[in-house]
Symmetry: C2
């Protein structure tokens, strides 16, 4: 394996042998290939892609570069859900305890917010005391007793992926479908799962807005899972508007709790029920889809899911009183209700504008080492297609100070466009399984 | 200037502002941008190219990163010639003293052989004692007294180019026309010239075999020169066969001396005369082309050019007795005449096969830090289109030992193909000036 030849082959659109690519990746992991050769290779993949064989070799190297959880001690199936990231996506906070209540073990390793999207870890940390960094033995014990546990990715998992991601981040080589797919799947394969549900966001607020490319990503990930014996189902879900009403960490946590209390926005609840049903189907092949949905709805309305969430919060050191009293979530002190100015039909609610609006209020990151203000954000009162009249509330801004309020007000007004013809995407537009790829 | 944005803009096919690109390059030169970001940028330029504005900005940064010779103390025009590199190209050794004999100052900075082509410095060093590393004051003095001086590129010239070239070499980003053009022109612009002749090789033995791409390179370089006030003329010349008969360092030096003695192969002599005429035209606008050719032929046949060469060799520490007695050139001791096997017409004499054949005999480099055996190589007795009969000599192999002889014999037989229809390129197919671009 000659590194410059590997780069050249990729540059010229040829296919690398699995052994050749693995030798290249292994040499990089062992610091025998410098970052600059890897950077040139990554940029070549931006233009040339990776074949299925190459992608599988990359996933294998990433996975084998680190530890794989052995969760065989659990007496039931382990199924996780991963979202590619969107604005207002608080599904994990509701879904993990719900699936646990249905008897599915959920060993969930999540990320932090970056760019215009928030992350599950930040939302959990809006609960006073909640610890997202656990020792592995704590994680395993909580998973066994509560049925779910939620932590950040540990250093032991897929170190090659972490190194490659850091390099991609500074070399403009992030948006490459097979690299994204391999990065996600290597981490999920390390969780020792029996099934995986992928929520692939599509629309202007998604990292990959285009439907064809989002489908390509979904198919690539499902195929990687199938190839390594992990049954994987991907749903393409709408991110041309925020999910739910709340955008911003603590606000989203509050909305997730409302969902668990039976009072969530219809779209969040529908997506949670569908994904819980997929997880049930993956955990037990004999389940029927309608029955699975019914059981999920029942566990949500009965309070069984809420009960799991309370136990999860307690187990991970959080203050469970936030469930009864959401004011204990560190919400920003300054609030302003923004009103509709002109009558008309809401055309779009731009998720990206709101997401970057949260960053602008101090509630998001443009670099991974930034602190975030978990209390700021927006609650949006209108949806695309809705008829509005002047004076009616458009939404509420939560900010740290008066200056933030006025900036947030401008963001909210910019995000909601009245008059555009509304063409909202269906909440769930595609379902991709191994049979489709 | 945000480095990842610069990379992204190039990746997406956009044009960078001159200031933005200069800031990026300057930051790289000052080690504020790491090699891996530059490597990603270079690979993006492989796919997207550089615009004229971007190329000019790159040349400016390369040039300003180092010293520029001030040759204003000379009482005449300074004109240099640069070849993009081919097999058997010993033109510089004849041309520099010839132009000097015609009153043109030639401050020539050359390179070493790499890959399948040999370099002027190696050929000069086949002359016992010849020093190609001179102090700048020595170089200036020899240039003034002899009219020409021939050295390697000094560390002071265009250090940014040297750093970028080293990075390109290991990241599969060498074959990018604007990068090649900027690299060549930044070094030539640093020589403080009044005119420049470019010999752009085209055909299977050239680094850029394709005529369209070679023309693109020629036009890019001529345009860079014009943009910076350096009148530049480029000739596209044939490299679908070796130039002359000799391939290999000392053998080529011997052939160059033969040319200076009035006994050179017709193609080498023709190219030398044409390039000398171009140099004369650039040094004095009142010259007529026919007159310039005539003066060049006269200076070659009268021995004036040979006299300059002898003075050059003496001034740079070489043994001038090699001119009378070429056996003093360190030619390899083992020789074998290879004979034609089957009758027919010679279709092709593959320059690349012969060039790599020299490398295989120890006379070339695959890495810049390799020592070379200057004495090995080939003398080819046949040309494309020539009718041959069995038993007639095909050429002679010069090797260090018997094993080398047998390898060299195979190379010579492989390089000469009898039976292919011959389609040799015209020796000089295009002439590109600023008026054409």
């Amino acid at each position: 394996m000659i590194p410059s030849r590997v780069i050249e082959t990729k540059r010229d659109g040829g296919e690398l042998g699995a052994e050749e690519l693995e030798a290249f990746l292994q040499a990089y992991l062992e610091d025998r290939i410098p970052d600059y050769q890897m950077a040139a290779f990554l940029m070549a993949t931006y233009f040339r892609g990776l074949t299925r064989v190459e992608t599988d070799a990359l996933v294998r190297c990433m996975l084998e570069s680190g530890a794989v959880l052995d969760l065989g001690y659990l007496d039931g199936a382990r199924v996780d859900k991963h979202s590619t990231g969107g604005v207002g996506d608080k599904v994990s906070l509701v879904l993990a305890p719900l699936a646990a209540a249905l008897g599915v073990y959920v060993p969930m390793m999540s990320g932090r917010g970056l760019g215009h999207t928030a992350g599950t870890l930040d939302k959990l940390e809006a609960i006073p005391g909640f610890r997202t960094v656990l020792r592995l033995d704590e994680f395993r014990a909580i998973l066994e007793t509560v049925g779910c546990a939620m932590i950040g990715q540990t250093d032991e998992i897929a170190p090659l992926d972490r190194r490659l991601y850091a390099l991609r981040d500074v070399t403009a080589t992030v948006p490459v479908i097979p690299l994204i797919a391999a990065s996600i799947m290597s981490k999920k394969l390390a969780e020792g799962l029996n099934g995986l549900v992928l929520d692939v966001k599509v629309g202007s607020g998604a990292f990959i807005p285009d439907e064809e490319r989002a489908l390509d990503l979904a198919r690539t990930m499902v195929s990687i899972g199938a190839g390594r014996g992990l049954p994987t189902v991907a749903l393409l879900t709408a991110m041309d508007r925020p999910l739910g009403r709340a955008v911003g960490n603590a606000l989203e946590t509050r909305e997730a709790i409302a969902c668990l209390r039976g009072d969530g926005p219809a779209d969040v609840v529908e997506l949670v029920i569908e994904e819980a049903a997929e997880m049930l189907l993956l955990s037990d092949a004999s389940t029927q889809r309608d029955g699975a949905r019914e059981r999920a709805r029942e566990a949500l309305s009965s309070g069984a899911a809420l009960d799991r969430f309370i136990r999860l919060v307690e187990a991970q050191g959080g203050d469970p009183r936030v469930i009864e009293d959401p004011s204990r979530l560190a919400l920003a002190p300054e609030r302003a209700v923004v009103e509709v100015v002109e009558a008309g039909t809401v055309g779009t609610v731009e998720p990206r504008v709101l997401g970057f609006g949260v960053v602008g209020l101090g509630g998001g990151r443009t670099r991974m080492d930034q602190e975030v203000d978990l209390g700021v954000g927006f609650e949006v009162d209108v949806r695309p297609g809705q008829r509005v009249e002047p004076g009616q509330p458009l939404g509420t801004v939560y900010a740290r100070d008066a200056d933030g309020l006025s900036r947030g007000t401008r963001v909210l007004r910019e995000a909601v466009r009245v008059g555009d013809p509304p063409h909202p995407r269906p909440l769930i537009s595609h379902r991709v399984t191994a049979a489709d790829v």
